[in-house]
Symmetry: C2
Subunit: 157 residues, 2 copies
C-alpha cells in the first residue's frame, strides 16, 4: 500500500517548492509516497475551461489504477479535522491493501469523469486557495496526520 499524490503543472514558485519538499521528505520516513506531477497542457490558453478540465482528467486517469482509493481535493468536498483525517488514513492502512490516491486538480477543478471515478472528496477549507498553494497545505496536513498517528509532538507544538 502506497500513498500517491497527483497534481497538474509544475509548482512555479521556488519557495513553495522548498516547503512542499520539506514535508514530503519527512513523510517518506512514515510511508511509501509518490508525488506525480502531470505536465501542464500545451496551448491550454486556446481551450475552454471545460475542455481543459476534460483533458487534464484524461491525463490524471491514466495514472489511476482501477482498484485505487481515489480522493479528490475539492472545495465541494467533506471537511475533516486533522484528527479525523489521520483516522481516515489509519483505517485505510489497517484495513485496505489498495493505494490511497489524492488528486489536486488544475485551476478550474475536475471533469465529470473524475468525479465519477472518485471515492471521496476532501475539502481543506471553505475558502478558495490557489491550486499551487493547496499542495503545500495538503503536504503539511498529510505530515501532521502521521505525527498524530505516531503520537509525536508536532501536532500540538
Amino acid at each position: 500500500m502506497q500513498i500517491r499524490i497527483i497534481s497538474i503543472g509544475k509548482t512555479d514558485e521556488h519557495a513553495l517548492q522548498i516547503l512542499i519538499e520539506k514535508y514530503l521528505n519527512r513523510l517518506k520516513h512514515y510511508i511509501s509516497i509518490d508525488w506525480i506531477v502531470i505536465p501542464d497542457i500545451k496551448n491550454r490558453k486556446n481551450l475552454s475551461h471545460s475542455e481543459q478540465k476534460l483533458e487534464e482528467g484524461k491525463r490524471i486517469l491514466n495514472k489511476i489504477k482501477a482498484q485505487d482509493h481515489l480522493i479528490l481535493l475539492d472545495e465541494k468536498g467533506k471537511q475533516y479535522t486533522s484528527q479525523h483525517f489521520s483516522k481516515l488514513i489509519e483505517n485505510h492502512i489497517h484495513f485496505q491493501r489498495n493505494d490511497l490516491v489524492f488528486v489536486i486538480g488544475g485551476p478550474y477543478g475536475f471533469s465529470n469523469e473524475m468525479y465519477q471515478k472518485a471515492t471521496e472528496k476532501l475539502s481543506i477549507s471553505k475558502m478558495t486557495f490557489s491550486h499551487q498553494m493547496v499542495r503545500l497545505f495538503f503536504a503539511e496536513q498529510l505530515y501532521r496526520a502521521f505525527t498524530i498517528l505516531r503520537k509525536e509532538s508536532y501536532h500540538n507544538e
Copy 2:
C-alpha cells in the same frame, strides 16, 4: 482606516517568509497595511500553556486600540468563503472608520481576555495548521479578497 495583522514570534522558515512578503507587498497596492510581529516570550519553555497564552495576550492587547475591530484567527471561529470574506472587508471599508485588526495567535491559541476583547473569530479551516503556516494562508486570502473586490482575474486563475 488601516488593516493590521498581529502575529506572535518570527516566521522562522525563510521560504515561508518570502511567500508571505510576496502577498503583503501586493496588498500594499490596495490598502494601508501593517504586520506587527510580537517577539516570542523569552524562557517560554518554563511557562505552562495557559501562562504563555496569558502573557502573549497581554502583549497583543498592548497593540490594540479600544476602537479597533478585532478579529481572531481561531479554529473555533466562523468559516467564510473567499467571496464572503471579501464582503466582510468591503463592508468594513465602506461603513467603518476604525481599523480592522486580525490576530494570529501562538501555538496554544488565545487567552480568555483576548476572546473577551474580540469582535469576531474567523476559522480558515477545520484542520489545524501550524500557526506559522496560517500566516501564509491568511496573507494569500487577504490578497485574494482585494482581487475579488477589484474584479481582477486572480481569484479564478
